[in-house]
């Protein structure tokens, strides 16, 4: 049951391992941070596509002679996020006079840091073997691997709502305050259903470790087939968790102007923006890991540990994550926003009973066919 933990406990870490771990942290963080500008571009392009516009199509390579035929190439507007970022950095860093300065300043970090922490437990591949058969060890494509990885991911992600709420409260603004109230109310109405959906998947696979869940899916079926109801519930709640349309009540532009981040500008606003997109990426990773087979694909060995073979894992994982991210963007521009009380009644009156029923059925089936579930 504690497969990976036993592997990790079998040897004491060396200096090389510490170095590799640090590299893993840098690589994972860097990868997500470089996906986010692309995500922003994708969002604007898909929005334009859905609304029959062109979208960003001007910001590209400069008209320099040394670039040769590429001089002035528009690159389909791919450098637009760069221009946005420069604009945000150059803006004035503004704090309202009656704001609670301490909370106003730390709130963006309180949103961003927990979400970034959550990625640490997500396995994006199996790993590769370093060194000989005797003294070698397996470098996992996962930053931290411990017995309760999935709980950790959700625990720290749920902390980010404090940042949202405090941001709105500290800016001393009616709209901000309303955004805060909505953020906390939203969270208590979908979280229970979300955990129950995850719990159903945990009961099916018999493990709280994300890599064990992926390996179970590679030997049985993907979670989306094993737990379709849990998948739908989780998907709905994932949209609510990341404050994306159709559940973006804390910021709801037409009603609350910008909600909790109304008073924020410059890089503080950019931090919220990054937090939202980082949250989307991490949520997509969780969806892929829990329900779409993680890094595995039928036909590709799930636990190949030579370096070249192991690269297939992160590749498959990235493609799957990008597909889920595309779904995120498409849903945002296709569905209208729910009314605020509709999410609460959806969460409490529909999703929680359905998730509970699903859990009970899973438990009964699990006890009946216990042998096939226990590893």
């Amino acid at each position: 049951m504690f497969l990976a933990a036993d592997v990790a406990a079998a040897h004491s870490p060396s200096a090389l391992e510490y170095l590799l771990n640090a590299l893993k942290v840098l690589a994972a963080f860097g990868a997500i941070m470089s996906v986010i500008p692309f995500m922003i571009w994708l969002e604007r392009k898909v929005a334009a596509w859905i609304q029959h516009r062109d979208g960003p199509n001007k910001v590209g390579l400069p008209r320099w002679k040394i670039l040769g035929p590429l001089s002035g190439f528009h690159m389909w507007g791919l450098l637009q996020p760069l221009a946005d970022m420069i604009k945000l950095i150059l803006k004035e860093d503004f704090i309202p006079r009656r704001a609670d300065k301490f909370l106003f300043v730390i709130a963006p970090a309180l949103v961003f840091v927990p979400i970034a922490l959550a990625f640490s437990v997500i396995p994006f591949g199996w790993g590769f073997h370093v060194g000989g058969a005797e003294d070698g060890f397996l470098v996992r494509y996962q930053i931290a691997d411990f017995g309760t990885g999935i709980l950790f991911a959700f625990a720290v992600m749920s902390m980010s709502v404090h940042g949202l709420t405090l941001a709105g409260w500290s800016s001393y603004n009616k709209y901000g305050q309303m955004g805060s109230v909505r953020a906390s109310a939203q969270m208590i109405s979908y979280e229970a259903a979300m955990f129950m959906a995850v719990l159903a998947m945990v009961m099916t696979t018999g493990s709280l470790q994300l890599d064990d869940i992926v390996l179970w899916q590679s030997t049985h079926v993907w979670g989306i087939l094993a737990q379709p109801i849990a998948f739908v519930i989780f998907l709905i709640c994932a949209f609510a968790e990341t404050n994306r349309l159709p559940f973006d009540f804390p910021e709801a532009e037409p009603e609350l102007v910008a909600g909790y981040h109304i008073e924020y500008g410059s890089m503080k606003f950019a931090m919220f923006f990054l937090g939202e997109y980082y949250g989307m990426v991490v949520q997509s990773c969780l969806i892929v890991t829990l329900f779409l087979g993680g890094w595995t694909l039928p036909g590709i060995p799930a636990t190949a540990d030579s370096f070249l073979a192991s690269l297939a894992g992160p590749l498959v994982f990235s493609v799957k994550v990008m597909c889920v991210l595309f779904l995120y963007v498409q849903v945002r521009w296709s569905l209208p926003r729910f009314r605020f009380d509709q999410l609460m009644s959806l969460g409490w009156k529909r999703l929680i009973p359905i998730a509970l029923a699903n859990l009970v059925v899973t438990a009964i089936l699990g006890v009946t066919f216990a042998a096939s579930n226990m590893r």
Partner: protein, 216 residues
């Protein structure tokens, strides 16, 4: 690991003290969050990752958000008609009728309620008793123990201390009675809450305006 343990413990203690001393309820909540995080760190250092994660998930995630939700509705800044949030008696926040006379200063330190102090000391005594009088009860757990309860088909899985399985074994094998008592307690609390909410809606003379009307 010891250094980390001491650091987390100090963070938890500082958070706890600040939580009580702080007079702005929002800052109290933030200090409480810091304290929860420190406690979770302590559990992590003790190899009890499941307890640590539960600490964050339930306390820092769910319960603190409920507190925050309530605090959002109690405008701490306008209760005493003061401009900035720093000069509000945290007691007054929860008692809107208690307005100070004009010209009186808000007390910097509020003495603890004797009953609350008594209850806190009682809980502390119970915990100290549990820690110092019942060591042999918990002594049998090493880093890895064989879980007899999980044995199936002659296979005895190794159960890690502090893991989900370890907690499950302790809860359902060693302390099933305590578990059932706790569940009955929580059930009673939920029933009470439902009863209170029901009575509140029954006593309301006029029906509350539906939330929907503002958007129609």
């Amino acid at each position: 690991m010891e250094v980390l343990f001491v650091f987390c413990a100090i963070v938890a203690l500082i958070g706890g003290v600040l939580c009580v001393v702080q007079r702005n309820a929002i800052y109290s909540l933030l200090s409480l969050l810091v304290s929860f995080a420190g406690t979770a760190g302590v559990f992590f250092c003790l190899d009890a990752s499941f307890v640590a994660v539960s600490q964050i998930l339930i306390y820092a995630g769910a319960i603190a958000v409920l507190f925050l939700f309530v605090l959002m509705f109690t405008d701490t800044r306008t209760v005493l008609g003061m401009g900035t949030p720093r000069v509000v008696d945290s007691r007054a926040v929860f008692n809107p009728d208690a307005k100070p006379e004009a010209g009186t200063r808000v007390k910097r330190f509020v003495l603890p309620n004797p009953l609350a102090a008594l209850i806190s000391l009682g809980v502390l005594a119970a915990m100290l008793f549990a820690i110092f009088k019942l060591p042999e009860r918990f002594g049998k757990f090493g880093p890895l123990v064989e879980g007899e309860g999980l044995a199936r088909d002659g296979i005895v899985p190794m159960v890690q201390f502090g893991s989900a399985s370890g907690i499950t074994l302790v809860t359902f094998q060693d302390f099933p009675l305590a578990f059932e008592v706790v569940s009955i307690l929580i059930f009673a609390a939920v029933l009470g809450a439902v009863l209170l909410a029901k009575r509140h809606t029954a006593q309301a003379t006029e029906p509350e305006p539906a939330v929907a009307t503002e958007d129609e």
